[in-house]
Amino acid sequence: MATRPMRIRATEKDGVTEVKVLMSHIMETGQRKDGEGNIVPAHFIQNVVVKNGDKTVLSAEWGPAVSRDPFLSFKFKGGKKGDKLTVTWTDNKGESRTDEATVS
């Protein structure tokens, strides 16, 4: 499955960087049935890691109850304007995607 890029916004104010991420993922629960009554296999993001340069600023484990096209927002201290932020997700099928953003 080709995946679409994440939308990442990171803004620094008074030493605190606020990060908002919108990912593109189907987040299939494994509970749903298709038109013929077959269960649609689960397909969801399990791990998310956000790094500022080399430092991990957030790591998360998700279950299928996170909404389709997941949204995530958090704040961390120590980021500066121009820092490179990378967000990586890995799903239960082993697919993964990494996108970058610059702190502004």
Partner: protein
């Protein structure tokens, strides 16, 4: 001959064969590598999840704020946020006990990351939603009922 190298090769062959033979599906082989706390995500109740995360019990705390609507019109997309004022907050989890599995998401907060997260979750039906916080090695929680008018699990 390098014994360690032999062992690595052998392990790779065994795993490869197991996948080929259909004993292990590729995603299971992967699951063995990725760090994902299956036990916690399989838990049906708040207590199950606390135990799977290595705790005994969680005390109610007014230092935790759960930011969520009273009524969610669409259970497929319910905005939920949690903020903790507890010192040394290192982990925040969102739990929905009425869902098929209670734990929706767990966030690990390294030092320097603010104890404030927000995301969107699915809710199958009206349920209490819990923010479970691990601070200084202990578990605390706060909860709030969210009424769902339209379920988010294909129902």
């Amino acid at each position: 001959m390098n014994q360690q190298r032999r062992d690595v090769l052998r392990l790779g062959t065994v795993l490869g064969l197991a996948v080929a033979a259909g004993l292990l599906r590729p995603e299971q082989a992967w699951a063995a590598q990725a760090e994902w706390n299956k036990q916690a995500f399989d838990g049906k109740s708040v207590e199950d999840v606390i135990k799977a995360l290595g705790g005994q019990e969680a005390a109610e705390s007014d230092q935790i704020t759960l930011v969520a609507p009273d009524i969610a019109e669409n259970g497929a997309v319910v905005p939920v946020g949690a903020t903790s004022k507890l010192p040394k907050t290192e982990q925040i989890s969102i739990l929905i006990p009425k869902n098929p599995n209670a734990l929706a998401a767990r966030f690990d907060l390294p030092e320097g990351t603010e104890p404030e997260i927000a995301t969107r979750v699915k809710m199958g039906e009206t349920s209490d939603v819990y923010a479970l916080v691990k601070a200084d090695g202990k578990f605390y929680m706060a909860h709030k009922e969210i009424k769902v008018t339209l379920g988010g699990c294909g129902g």
